[in-house]
């Protein structure tokens, strides 16, 4: 039996379909809420723009005087009768402190997060998580004081050892002791400070790794570490990078702990183990009260603008790197 299918359009003369415009009629509470969230969203953006333009605007006079020399000189430089200011030493110091902080802090934070989400016994897990979160709330001045009185005296030994045995790496060469108040120690403190926040975010991300895929790996005979490598780490990669970048932002702007530790010299140095060095935020913090002297307030604001740009670039880079990743991605067992 053949079925006669009438496939011809019923009304060939009918006009081609056009999409209709769907009217969205929000209720009043919805409108109010919408307006509210929109306003706060835009507000944050505007604030960012306002701060940036304020810093640029207020720093401009200093830039007019110093010119591009601002980026190539370090500290106050006498030009004719006028003392110009350069940010170079503080800029490199900032990057160095942040780098040391990330080298020490990020791996420790990620391992801490893995321990909390994968290995810690269930009974102690909650209290450990609470402790990490509490550690994130410790004021940075406390870290600074602790580091000054407790950490620094104990780390100098390590610095000495490194300067003796690793001096073939230019960063670890020491030409002018002492080894306290160094970029290395400041970086270490900041590294310790960022561990709680980075660990906390990473743990959250790791714990979201799909249970089904975890079980799939285990049921195929994976060890726990293989399961973590196949499922947890690829799944958490985006979040992990985000967390580390957040930590980096924190490391770049850390002020008070660095101010307590760091000697504060306007000299570009790659020798992170020895006394000296400065960071932008430290520079601003220690000079703000006396501004009007060699360092004008415009110089400080221009320094602030540089720091602002630096963190902005870091965060933009982070969001470019972060792409959502799923388990199994890029795994080469």
């Amino acid at each position: 039996m053949a079925i006669d299918l009438d496939l011809a359009p019923r009304r060939p003369q009918a006009p081609a379909p056009t999409p209709i415009t769907v009217t969205r009629d929000y209720s009043t509470p919805d409108k109010v809420f919408r307006w509210g969230v929109q306003a706060s969203g835009l507000g944050v953006f505007l604030l960012l723009v306002a701060i940036g333009s304020f810093l640029a605007w207020s720093g401009w006079p200093a830039f007019k005087v110093a010119g591009w020399g601002f980026f190539t000189h370090s500290g106050p430089v006498l030009v004719g009768s006028h003392a110009n200011f350069g940010v170079l030493a503080s800029l490199t110091g900032t990057v160095e402190v942040a780098f040391v902080a990330m080298v020490f802090g990020a791996p420790v934070a990620i391992c801490t997060a893995l321990f909390l989400s994968e290995y810690a016994p269930l009974r102690s897990r909650r209290s450990l998580i609470a402790m990490i979160d509490l550690a994130a709330a410790i004021p940075s001045i406390i870290f600074g004081l602790w580091a000054f009185f407790e950490l620094q005296p104990n780390v100098v030994g390590l610095s000495t050892w490194m300067s003796r045995h690793l001096a073939f790496i230019p960063f670890f060469k020491v030409t002018s002791p002492p080894l306290n108040a160094s970029i290395f120690i400041a970086g270490l403190v900041v590294g310790i400070m960022i561990v709680p926040i980075v660990a906390s975010i990473c743990r959250e991300v790791f714990s979201l790794a799909p249970a089904g895929e975890r079980e799939a790996a285990l049921a195929l005979g994976a060890s726990r570490w293989q399961m973590i490598r196949t499922v947890v780490l690829p799944f958490g990669r985006g979040g992990m990078i985000g967390a580390v970048m957040l930590g980096l932002g924190r490391a770049l702007e850390e002020t008070i702990a660095v101010t307590i530790i760091l000697a504060g010299s306007y000299k570009v140095t790659g020798q992170i183990l020895q006394h000296g060095g400065s960071t932008i935020s430290q520079l601003i913090a220690i000079n703000f009260n006396q501004s009007g002297g060699a360092l004008g307030v415009h110089d400080l604001l221009l320094c602030g603008f540089v720091l602002f740009l630096l963190t902005l670039v870091i965060n933009l880079a982070a969001s470019a790197i972060v792409n959502r990743s799923r388990s199994g991605a890029g795994v080469d067992l």
Binding site: P210, E215, A216, A217, A219, G221, S223, G328, G330
Partner: protein
């Protein structure tokens, strides 16, 4: 087919850890004795004695919450992955207690594979990588990867659908295809037993039939234990059936076990009769 893997045969009289070489593709027999299970101190499964015959399909049936899945997960040491889970009794694979001293969970799971209710391929791995994932975990190198991928996918009834796109991501397949990929992934490590926890409950009828067909085809190479809520499915695919039941606030128990025809045709227990005839509760 004989291949060398870092795993071993064990005779019933010679309990020993699974090490050395063994002939693969050999279905195993599981004897569960006095298996009990607890979650957070609450007994959920009581004294299950059950033998899952070599090369046969055993279906575990019963209403929700009667401990079927828990029992299944005890059979390849996946139960202990759940926090707060405890167990008692012994589970012997060809005479060797998988919970005995010196037995490692990951080793056991290579011999006793598992397919889950929800398809769980690694979404960012390709189809071929998914199939080979288990071998990478055991660090064994198959003679020819392509052959193995084809063999496993063919056994799982997926080869014809994916042979031209083995490089595509596992997560891009349909639900039924993903589940068959998971079966292929489990078969690729050549387990002796394959546990299936309601493998079709998230699938449409066509995919379900396809997987049932797969189960029948693989049964002479691997012992299958399947948890199912679908009575027809149990009848269609299984040789043996075990009926689990938990009375209110009681742990689950095996009420009756035996050949599938017997359980469905002339059960000895009234509760079994009621359940398989849909007159339950």
């Amino acid at each position: 087919m004989t291949t060398t893997l870092p795993t071993a045969p064990t005779g019933p009289g010679h309990p020993q850890p699974f090490t050395g070489t063994r002939t693969l593709g050999e279905p195993g027999q599981i004897d569960a004795e006095g298996v009990c299970a607890w979650f957070g101190g609450r007994l959920v499964l009581e004294t299950v004695n059950l033998t899952m015959e070599q090369s046969k399909v055993t279906a575990l049936i019963g209403p929700s919450g009667c401990g079927k899945s828990t029992f299944l997960r005890i059979l390849n040491r996946m139960h202990e992955v759940v926090p707060g889970a405890q167990l008692a009794g012994s589970v012997k694979l060809d005479g060797v207690d998988i919970y005995g001293p010196g037995q490692r969970a990951m080793e056991t799971r290579r011999h006793i594979g598992m397919v889950f209710q929800k398809p769980n391929p690694f979404p960012a791995m390709t189809i071929a990588e998914n199939v080979l994932a288990g071998l990478k975990f055991s660090r064994s190198t198959p003679g020819d990867k392509d052959d193995l991928v084809q063999e496993a996918l063919t056994k799982a009834g997926l080869w014809n659908e994916v042979k031209d796109r083995l490089g595509e991501l596992g997560g891009a397949l349909s639900g039924g295809q993903q589940q068959r990929l998971c079966i292929a992934r489990s078969l690729a490590v050549r387990p002796r037993v394959l546990l299936m926890d309601e493998p079709c409950s998230a699938l449409d009828p066509t995919s379900t039939l396809r997987i049932e067909q797969t189960i029948k085809e693989i049964a002479d190479e691997v012992t299958v234990v399947i948890v199912t809520h679908n009575m027809q499915q149990a009848q269609r695919v299984s040789d043996y059936c075990a009926f689990f039941l938990a009375a209110e606030n009681q742990p689950g128990r095996v009420i009756e076990a035996g050949r599938t025809e017997m359980i469905f045709g002339e059960p000895t227990d009234q509760r079994t009769f009621d359940y398989v005839n849909g007159q339950f509760g």
